[in-house]
Amino acid sequence: MDFGFTPEQDALRAQARRLLDQELPLERILAWSAAPSALDRALWKKTAALGWAGLTVAEAHGGLGLGAVDLIVLLEEMGKSLCPLPLAATDLAAAALGALGDGAQQAAWLPKIARGDVVATVAIAEGSDVPTADGVAARAGARGTDVTLDGTKLFVPDGQHADLLLIAAREGAGVSLFAVPADTPGVTVRPLVVVDATKPAAEIALAGAVVPARNRLGAVGGAWPTLARLVDRQTITHAAEMVGSADAALRLAVEYAKVRRQFGSPIGRFQGVKHRCAEMLCDVESARSLVYYAAWAVDHAPDDVPSYASMAKAAASEALDTAGEECVQIHGAIGYTWECHAHLFYKRGRQSHVWLGAPDEHYERVMTVLQHG
């Protein structure tokens, strides 16, 4: 029994912290969030050279062949830095290719992903933020050896930065997944204007976009069971980022509470402040434990994944939503200024809370699993 990390995982965490502190201090994130620009491809390549982009890609395809627990170590650190690199989205696409792609499809894309040459994402959701099979209305129609795609995908994580889009579309009675290069004619990617600019998302309009049928990943109409599992994976990796962000928001508030003085004393001495911080720590650590276990379950206890993904997301949502808000409050009026970093965490909290499902949706699922297994 060991519910902790290996020395290798600790080293990975330390590496991530060093690189993120160096390359993406919060001042840089702040500046970037005022005017979000293109993805920093040089930085993406640099992290790919360290193995991040291909972390969970099989070694045969140029990846490190590591697991979900290793991945969330990175993501937790990225969450602390509010790092906008598209690691979670790219990992999700790589996992989809790994699960549904045939040998040729994997060989075509995975090595490029692992090298950092191709940024990828998966487009499932449309009208509803929690992706469901019924919610997939985009259509795929066969035309000879080609497939034509029509419809609109919403809330596509890092869609504007992706070179490769894996698009879920209705085909026959089921849902299929297609590998669609972003520059395919008939594909229009528009960045969504979001509250938290450090968490980019896009709208993808498909108007008669044509891809060869060999770009279908898996059987005709047979992708949903795998996509459902991938949504859980996405929920867990997102919760890991949220735990990192909540931790950082709490630390930011605590450090300020140690130095800001009022009534002749650091404000962190007042229980109205210190007890809120203690409660936040309690909630952050609880969410962290749930995320760690959920990530472990991805590779070792698949039956546990649905309910733990939901518990982790609900707990992380509550922890970060509160930590971001308290971080603003504990800073007083300074917390309301653009220069203070508190609002970055507040926005991340408010946005992530509902992204991939607000706590009430996840609690409902926890209850369903409890009742029906």
Binding site: M1, F3, L281, L370
Partner: protein, 396 residues
């Protein structure tokens, strides 16, 4: 990360399961934390204690030299978990003797004291009570005033203790007294072991809000305690008891008790109705149940992270306050939720013939203070977390 156990550990688990099959006493077994119920069938519990002791499973984590079981951390986990899973009674009758008197004796006791006390604690022959709190010293325990003055080979004790759990049944008390009123408040305190039958000592039970009486006031009037019954040096009392409380094990058994309670709440919600439908279909009720399940699961996993630290030989610090705080929330919310699910039946007292589940939920609603106030209130836990983990300044 690895949630599997070694082959030796799994063999140990099988041994525990076999033992349970052969020796677990039959009992109503609703709520493991229920003291009243826990004391209900003493002969069976005494037998249970003897059977456990024969296996070395009472004081399982104590060293073998003193009569403990010398169990490894993972074996302790397995033992606790397997027992809690089947709602077994506590692992030994001498509740406080096992929880902190024994560990304090092992660390600070003379050979004579160990020889005299540890055997009876392990065999469940003696009940201990804890005389720390006073009317003027609760959260601020070090402010205690109960006075002991040296007189030849005795200390003469005068003063009062309060909230002393089990005082009316106990044969011995672990007592904190002030021996040096001029010393700084943490340093003038001494720990004594006192037979409850000593002349001058009187016990006055206190009625609780649930109608029961599990704790008491204890008065000392020229109570003579032999110096040989002093635990640790004079003035060392604070360290003796502080260390002992830090010996509290992780919260595995508590987690299982709460899991069982939530299971029973789900069952209650399936039987009760709201607007003509089972209450368990009500979205509001579902949210509250699932949120509590999530918190209990977090408490379980937090506990596993803390145990992992211990297994890796790292010291456990103030982290355990995190689970105490979560537990306090769940203790209170579970009683409130059960009442809400009961609906109109929630107004009925435990003794009403109409009471649902023989009044079990009224009892839960009226019996959380031992787990919330006893052993440090939530505010005090928050101070501990804020100061020791987050490094925020002391407020007092």
């Amino acid at each position: 990360m690895d949630f599997t156990f070694s082959a030796e550990d799994e063999a140990f688990r099988a041994e525990v399961r076999a033992f349970i099959r052969d020796h677990l006493p039959k009992r109503s077994g609703q709520d493991q934390m229920d003291v009243e119920e826990g004391m209900s069938d003493l002969p069976a519990l005494y037998k249970w204690n003897q059977d456990l002791h024969a296996k070395g499973w009472v004081g399982f984590h104590w060293p073998r030299e003193v009569g403990g079981g010398g169990g490894t951390i993972s074996e302790q986990m397995i033992l606790k978990e397997e027992m809690a899973r089947v709602k077994a009674p506590m692992l030994g009758l001498s509740y406080m003797g096992l929880a902190w008197v024994g560990p304090a004796l092992i660390k600070y006791g003379t050979q004579e004291q160990k020889d005299r006390h540890i055997g009876p604690i392990l065999r469940g022959e003696v009940q201990w009570c804890t005389g720390y709190s006073e009317p003027g010293a609760g959260s601020d325990l070090a402010a205690l005033q109960c006075r002991a003055v040296r007189d030849g080979d005795d200390y003469v004790v005068n003063g009062q203790k309060i909230w002393t759990s089990l005082a009316m049944w106990a044969q011995w008390m672990i007592l904190l007294v002030r021996t040096d009123p001029r010393a700084p408040k943490h340093l003038g305190i001494t720990c004594l072991l006192v037979p409850m039958s000593t002349p001058g000592l009187t016990v006055k039970p206190i009625k609780e809000m649930n109608g029961g009486a599990m704790f008491a006031e204890v008065f000392f009037e020229d109570v003579r305690v032999a110096v040989a019954n002093r635990l640790g040096a004079e003035g060392q009392g604070w360290d003796v008891t502080k260390d002992a409380l830090a010996n509290e094990r992780s919260s595995i058994a508590d987690v299982w008790a709460l899991k069982h309670r939530l299971e029973a709440i789900r069952d209650l919600a399936a039987r009760r109705t709201r607007r003509g439908r089972p209450a368990i279909e009500d979205p509001g009720i579902r949210q509250r149940i699932a949120r509590m399940e999530t918190q209990v699961e977090a408490m379980r996993l937090n506990g596993l992270r803390f145990v992992t630290k211990q297994l890796r030989g790292e010291p456990l610090g103030a982290e355990t306050s995190i689970n105490k705080l979560i537990r306090a929330r769940i203790e209170i919310e579970s009683g409130r939720l059960a009442r809400d699910i009961e609906g109109s039946f929630g107004i009925l007292a435990k003794t009403s013939p109409h009471a649902v589940d023989k009044g079990r939920w009224q009892k839960v609603m009226l019996s959380w203070p031992p787990f919330v106030i006893g052993g440090g209130t939530p505010n005090i836990q928050k101070n501990v977390i804020a100061e020791r983990i987050l490094g925020l300044p002391h407020d007092v």
